[in-house]
């Protein structure tokens, strides 16, 4: 083992003399990790946001077939019917109302996106996503006041404290900004009754509830089916909010493109390593003649190839970090979700695993060639 190290080390010490050749591996792998890492940053940010949006044990009820809350309506009568379901006699039933405002994005005001405005009742603010006021003050029910999620205020124009927003033709004043888990920070928040009044709405959009201990989702859906007047679908929050994201497709495309790029980087790196052993034919033949085993030589080639790929992978990560870490990504057309981007250790780890894989695969054919080389011919090599 120590001999492998010695050879690898002496090999690497000579590396600066042939940087030109190694650049192909480094930049090839940098391009792969520079595409893979930002793509994973985006999808994991969206997934994390959606995860934080849903709470364990909570269910959401919407009109049958609605896939987003803004496409759903739940009449006041339905809310009373749900409250009266025998299975739910201990449950706390929270109706909510959502509507949309269209806002230009800060990064490019030509892009208009829908921002969700959510009405929740005053007693819900405690249970509803632990809202923390960052600037300004809380809303006072009865007044036309709204809170802006801090990510929404960051991503869209004119949502700062003191701005007015037109919701369904009525002006509302933004009196504070708040932070809450998940997509809530990308929304505007108002008082349920005041907001519905202002929007002249007669039905709610959804019902949220934490199912009381023995009650299962199946029981709830059965109870809803039994009552012909109720045309609602109940689903766990995590399932409902998962539906609304396109992160899965995006991640798939990102992996496909990165894989194709990685194959290209592998071909380029095989070339680099062939050239590297060609340049060292005499050196390798001499070591073999001195009695160093072929495995040791092969290991030193694999190590060189892997290290070069890792240098490239790290370079790609550094570029991704400097460009995207700490920024936000806005997505969604029905209602926007603003997700903060961060280069997590997981993502960095994935990019490094890819680098190691490319390095090992690319090092293999040259390593095999080096071990099969005829010592006698190698010693006569003139370069």
């Amino acid at each position: 083992m120590s001999r492998t190290w010695q050879i690898t080390l002496s090999n690497l010490q000579a590396l600066p003399g042939r940087w030109g050749n190694s650049l192909a591996t480094i930049f090839g792998m940098a391009a792969v990790s520079g595409v893979l890492a930002p793509a994973l940053m985006m999808t994991s940010a969206l997934e994390a946001t959606m995860d934080a949006t849903s709470r364990d044990g909570w269910v959401i009820l919407v009109r049958q077939g609605a896939v987003v809350e803004s496409m759903s309506s739940v009449s006041r009568a339905s809310v009373e019917l749900v409250r009266a379901l025998p299975a739910l006699k201990d449950a706390d039933v929270h109706p909510q109302f959502v509507t949309n405002v269209v806002k230009p994005r800060r990064e490019n005001s030509a892009i208009l996106s829908s921002v969700l405005v959510r009405g929740i009742s005053a007693r819900d603010t405690a249970t509803w996503g632990a809202q923390r006021i960052i600037t300004g003050r809380n809303i006072i029910p009865g007044r036309h006041e709204l809170l802006a999620g801090y990510l929404a205020a960051q991503a869209f124009e004119r949502l700062t404290v003191g701005s007015t927003v037109l919701v369904n033709g009525v002006e509302w004043l933004i009196v504070g900004s708040f932070e809450a888990p998940g997509a809530a920070s990308s929304e505007l928040r108002g008082d349920l009754a005041t907001l519905m009044d202002g929007a002249k709405a007669t039905s709610y959009s959804s019902i949220r509830m934490n199912l009381p201990e023995p009650v299962q989702l199946a029981d709830l859906n059965a109870a809803i089916q039994d009552d012909r007047r109720l045309k609602l679908d109940a689903s766990p929050e995590e399932e409902f909010f998962e539906l609304g994201t396109s992160a899965v497709l995006f991640e798939f495309v990102a992996y496909v493109v990165s894989t194709i790029m990685a194959v290209g980087a592998t071909f380029a790196s095989i070339n680099v390593m062939y050239t590297s052993i060609d340049n060292r034919t005499l050196e390798i033949a001499t070591l073999r003649a001195l009695g160093f085993p072929a495995g040791t030589i092969a290991a030193s080639i694999l190590t060189e190839s892997t290290l070069l790929a890792i240098v490239g992978g790290v370079l790609g990560l550094l570029i991704s970090w400097s460009l995207f870490h700490g920024t936000t990504h806005t997505s969604g057309s029905m209602s926007s979700v603003v997700a903060p981007l961060g280069l997590s250790p997981d993502i960095a780890g994935t990019a490094l695993v890819w680098s190691i894989a490319v390095g090992l695969v690319a090092g293999l054919p040259p390593a095999v060639r080096a071990t099969r080389m005829s010592i006698a011919e190698g010693l006569r090599w003139e370069g």
């Binding site: 030109g20 050749n21 650049l23 192909a24 930049f27 090839g28 940098a30 391009a31 520079g34 595409v35 009109r63 049958q64 077939g65 609605a66 896939v67 987003v68 803004s70 496409m71 509507t99 949309n100 269209v102 490019n108 030509a110 892009i111 208009l112 996106s113 829908s114 369904n168 033709g169 002249k200 045309k231 493109v257 194709i260 790029m261 194959v263 290209g264 980087a265 071909f267 380029a268 095989i270 070339n271 680099v272 062939y274 050239t275 997505s331 969604g332 057309s333 029905m334 209602s335």
Partner: protein
């Protein structure tokens, strides 16, 4: 002739290196072909959109409902010739993998609003007379193997019928856009009668997601847009009207600036490729200094040797570019069909762009070795022997 021989000889000298370099380049050009192909397809689609047709959606956002009765108000406005209500009707056939896009529409007004929806007179008549009738795009009919007269159960993604499920049996009475010259987007959609959906849906009949508005040209488009939105201001169901082109460009941008992402990815791919090709080329020329010295010694001019180097690089890159773009154009229609957007083929523009890039790359890559060799004195390389 002697050049061809020399070029091929140079490339064959290290077959492994040439093959690996070409594979790397082929992959880069494949990515270029597919990704710019997607952007190009989006641009082609937007270019085919009409400036003189409007899309009216709810001000609350696309996907929100408006009363169908809005159509009557819009129709009475000056400058409007047609107002066709449409309700989104996405769904699938048998398996969620067999997804389709489409709409439940008021058939007579919708057909007049879309002259590019091509039907025979007999099909048009059957469609207007059959409540559960549907017209299916030719590409979709081929995909699902449907014939005129077939009764097919469509599964809607969100419309619930009176039985409490999402199955909507329809009769295929027309197949539209069968000719290759017809719009490929429409050839992938299904249209059913909104009256049929309204009669059997569980709740909320009489609503639409969109009105397609045809103009008679007597009033400027901007004025019609303003008067439609003014008509429903403060109504509780306010509208946002756009020209068709503005509407779709806006929606595409909402998905994310696909173009910018694609350009960034391709820029990094081709920068890496430039380094790969450059280092392979310098390596190869360094190994052959002696040979180039000999060529110069037997009377090749400096320009001749430079031309040889450039040609060798250009052949290597050109062949790879051709192979990459060829694979891209063969797989492109198939890839696009998978995401069920439209039947698209890689355009000549993408080929032109690819070949331009190949030529530029060849020049950049060959530059450094050409420079090295220009200074090369035949005596210098042979002195050592």
């Amino acid at each position: 002739m002697k050049f061809t021989f020399l070029i091929l000889g140079g490339l064959r000298r290290r077959t492994t290196r040439t093959v690996l370099t070409m594979l790397t380049a082929t992959i880069a050009f494949f990515l270029l072909g597919v990704m710019t192909g997607v952007i190009d397809a989006i641009n082609t689609l937007t270019a085919s959109l009409h400036d003189d047709r409007l899309r009216v959606v709810s001000r609350a956002g696309f996907g929100e409902h408006m009363p169908v009765a809005h159509a009557n108000g819009i129709r009475n406005l000056d400058g409007v010739s047609i107002a066709a209500p449409a309700l989104a009707f996405p769904g699938y056939y048998q398996d969620p993998g067999n997804a389709f896009g489409g709409a439940a529409v008021e058939m007579s007004s919708y057909l007049s609003a879309f002259p590019e929806l091509v039907l025979s007179g007999r099909e048009r008549k059957a469609l207007l007379e059959t409540q559960s009738g549907a017209t299916v795009g030719a590409a979709l009919a081929r995909r699902f193997n449907w014939q005129i007269g077939d009764e097919v159960p469509l599964i809607s993604t969100y419309l619930v019928n009176k039985d409490g499920n999402k199955t909507w049996p329809v009769k295929v009475v027309a197949i539209h856009n069968e000719s290759n010259n017809d719009s490929k987007i429409l050839a992938n959609e299904i249209y059913v009668n909104i009256a049929y959906v309204d009669e059997y849906r569980a709740d909320q009949s009489g609503v639409a997601h969109m009105f397609v508005v045809g103009l008679d040209g007597t009033v400027p488009t901007g004025n019609v847009i303003a008067s439609i939105d003014a008509l429903f201001a403060n109504s509780g169901n306010e509208t946002s009207s756009f020209s068709e082109k503005a509407f779709f460009t806006n929606r595409l941008q909402q998905v994310g600036d696909v173009g910018a992402v694609v350009r960034a990815i391709l820029a990094s791919v081709f920068f890496a490729l430039l380094i790969v090709l450059g280092s392979a080329s310098i390596q190869s020329v360094n190994e052959r200094k002696k040979e180039f010295g000999t060529l110069k010694a037997i009377g090749f001019s400096a320009a001749g040797v430079a031309g040889l180097i450039f040609s060798e690089t250009a052949v290597l890159i050109g062949v790879s570019a051709f192979a990459g773009l060829l694979i891209a154009s063969i797989s492109f229609p198939f890839l696009f069909e998978q995401i069920a957007v439209a039947n698209m083929y890689l355009s000549a523009d993408v080929w032109l762009l690819g070949m331009n890039i190949a030529l530029t790359l060849s020049a950049l890559v060959a530059l450094r070795p050409m420079f090295l060799l220009a200074r090369l004195e035949p005596a210098q390389v042979h002195a050592r022997v």
